[in-house]
Amino acid sequence: MSRLYGKGIVQSLWLVFRHFVESYRVDLRDFFTHKSKTGKVAFRSSTDTKGLFTIEYPEVCTLKPEEFRFLPFLVYDFDEVGKQKQRCTACGTCARICPVQCIWIERAKDPETGKPVPAPASFTLDSDLCMNCGLCAEYCPFDAIQMDHDYELAARTRKGYLLDLKHLSKPAAYYQAVRPRQYARRVAAREEKAEAQNPPA
């Protein structure tokens, strides 16, 4: 048994003390430079961070990178008369790829002929089951299902986690706001494809 002289304790406490002082030094500097809340959070999650690295959550949130994914949502556009038009064609790709099988899609039928039309009659997503893997958004051929950034989704009952078409639908402008780079990329790809199909005269 080697002898203990308490050097380790003193050394470690000195480290903790330095860390403690550093936290206040950073806070004071931010106070005098009137740094914005987002600026503070950005500093805390940068490689230069010093001192305390936690943030006070409900007041400030960490910055969400574009790729961040939470529950899926369905994208709709507006047609010429300003009516909502779902991008979803009920092709079933997302329901087939979903690893936990938490998506239920009912394909719409033409009321007169009874033939299936490319639109969902109902779209149910059990967010209790969803594991936020993002495969549905990744493989959707129409860019109709996307992963959301909103993670504060408390509900009072279990039914509250059963999301239907009404809860899931969000406008394309929201999609653009949440994932600007991806949106631009997809739009460019679609235009390129359309151009390849009917080249301008």
Binding site: P65, R96, P99, E106
Partner: protein
């Protein structure tokens, strides 16, 4: 050292496996022990990696699959024993390889294969009184819907229905016919029967040995894990790990899934190193389907896997301090660096822990703008600086030394015999690392060392982890410098991966040891067999050996030194 072929000349009954897509040798059950003994002594196959079984329902055959390794490197040797499905009896390999202990128990529990000569053949992941063996293909779970996903009820007539509504009994527990829950009620009594309670005559004060349960609800067991320890006052005489509290039959779930659907499930094995798990599974499927990932994807995979190793080791080191009684200070210093790594994961993959980033033939998406800078600053500036601090304050700390040195010693011979892998094996002086021994991906192109220490105690495991972080940083630095441009996906992404019939065993050197996936395909959209070789589950085999004659206060330190992860142990 003889070659495998010369060893097999003495056994004419051993035949190469000639089914298309299969490799290895078919060994008759009665020859198995002799064949393995000869391979071990004459051909240098002294490390048993993986034991599992496959249920070939249509042939009415049960196949037991063994993977043996040479520690000098190279691909594993595969041995298969085919037995009748109705009466599955195979000789146990535990006398030759004690490391087969828990794996054979798992195969017995999940597939109903009886290993003759196993000292303690009882259920391990499910409970006593569980009805049937769940990985048999004719076994169905309580909320059974269909043999394979995607389920037909989801599309195009997808009417929402709760899974519970499908079970006519409203109950998901069934018992075997001869099982009486009332009779088997006193589990503790049964447990005590396994543990002898001799009167201690050696010590001055004679007394009975005491059986103490540490866990499953114990803060230092890192999850729901139980150690049954037989104590002579404060000294541990015998110890047995009891697991399965978090069991969800990952393998059965994944046999119902399609190939791609399994990718997010692998994240949930060892949830602290999801990208390594992704990597091992992607390698196994790529081997089977003959897909080659693109050059850039290979480099991104290496960067991500090494960042995962760093974050996992930081947790291991930090929480070992927690187990020592430093409480949370040291863990939080580790978590701080890990937090920055998780920020990289979040920016690249979209999630901090459940990354689901690798695809067959590449990765899901290229590195977004700005993330390369984050990785660069971490690898070249922040991590090397912080590692100096860690080494100064933790490794040279006298209290850490006193508590960890000489605790939980595993000799090199024991470590090999118990099939230990990863830092546990290397701390015992065996320099075996799959990145060097059987280089996968582009690891052959990087210059790095495999740290080895010789004492085999908990302190050495700590040292190994710190040094491995340094080597990982070195690899990341090289990978950043040589990262090529180009596509990150080979071909067009598709949801229907075409996998020809056959088998494959894909392994990576995960942060905690050798993580392997043994897959069998019959050509359909779902794997026929999906087996995980979980490193920490197998490292637990040696826990009993490490804990002999230590004080009970050191048990949590030893457990922290192995660095188990219950998501992976219990699966």
């Amino acid at each position: 050292m003889k070659t495998v072929e010369t060893v097999f000349q003495a056994f004419p009954a051993v035949q190469p496996d000639q089914r298309p897509g299969y490799a290895g040798f078919l060994v008759p059950a009665e020859n198995l022990v002799d064949v393995v003994t000869a391979l071990k002594s004459d051909a240098g196959y002294n490390y048993l990696t993986c034991v599992t079984g496959v249920d070939y329902l249509s042939d009415q055959k049960m196949e037991v699959v063994y993977h043996l390794r040479r520690l000098s490197g190279g691909a594993p040797l595969e041995l298969k024993v085919q037995v009748d499905r109705a009466d599955t009896r195979v000789p146990s390999l535990t006398p030759l390889f004690p490391g087969a202990d828990l794996q054979e128990r798992e195969a017995y529990d999940l597939l109903g294969i009886r290993f003759d000569g196993h000292p303690n053949l009882k259920r391990i992941l499910t409970w006593e009184g569980f009805n049937g063996h769940p990985l048999r293909k004719d076994w169905r779970e309580a909320f059974y819907e269909q043999d394979a996903k995607p389920y037909k009820s989801r599309w195009p007539e997808g009417k929402y229905q709760k899974a519970e509504a499908r079970n006519p009994f409203g109950d998901n527990v069934s018992y075997p016919l001869d099982f009486d829950p009332a009779r088997h009620g006193d589990v503790e009594k049964e447990l005590r029967q396994d543990f002898a309670q001799p009167v201690n005559t050696a010590s001055e004060i004679s007394g009975e040995h005491l059986v103490v349960n540490l866990g499953p609800q114990h803060p230092s067991t890192h999850g729901v894990f139980r150690m049954v320890a037989e104590l002579d006052s404060e000294t541990v005489v015998k110890l047995e790990p009891v697991i399965g509290y978090l069991h969800r039959n990952h393998e059965k779930i994944c046999e119902r899934n399609t190939w791609l659907q399994n990718m997010p499930y692998t994240d949930r094995l060892d949830y602290l190193s999801s990208l390594s798990n992704n990597y091992a599974y992607a390698l196994a499927v790529e081997k089977l389907a003959g897909i080659t990932p693109t050059e850039r994807a290979n480099y991104i995979r290496v960067i991500m896997a090494e960042l995962t190793r760093i974050s996992s080791h930081l947790i291991a080191v930090g929480f070992l301090m927690n187990d020592l009684g430093v409480y949370f200070t040291a863990s939080l210093y580790g978590l701080e660096e890990r937090e920055l790594i998780l920020d990289v994961f979040e920016a690249v993959t979209g999630s901090r822990m459940m990354c689901n980033y690798l695809r067959f033939g590449g990765v899901a998406r290229d590195l977004p703008e700005g993330t390369m800078g984050m990785i660069y600053r971490l690898a070249f500036e922040r991590l090397p600086r912080k590692l100096d601090d860690f080494e100064k304050y933790l490794l040279e700390n006298e209290i850490v030394k006193v508590r960890c040195q000489g605790v939980g010693v595993l000799t090199p011979q024991q470590a090999i015999a118990y099939s230990a892998s990863g830092p546990v094996l290397r701390a015992s002086g065996v320099g075996f690392d799959l990145r060097k021994a059987e280089p996968y991906g582009v690891y052959g192109r990087f210059d790095f060392d495999v740290p080895v220490t010789s004492h085999g105690d908990t302190y050495d495991r700590l040292v190994i982890r710190m040094r491995e972080i340094r080597e990982s940083v070195r690899i990341i630095q090289q990978a950043i410098k040589s990262l090529p441009n180009g596509p990150v996906m080979n071909g067009k992404p598709t949801i229907n991966t075409k996998v020809p019939p056959g088998e494959s065993y894909g392994t990576v050197e995960g942060p905690k040891g050798e993580l392997g996936f043994y897959l069998v395909s019959n050509g359909s959209a779902n794997p026929w067999r999906y087996h995980v070789r979980p490193p920490t589950f197998i490292n637990l085999t040696s826990l009993g050996e490490m804990s002999k004659d230590v004080k009970i206060a050191d048990l949590v330190v030893i457990l922290g030194g192995i660095d188990i992860n219950l998501g992976e142990v219990d699966r």
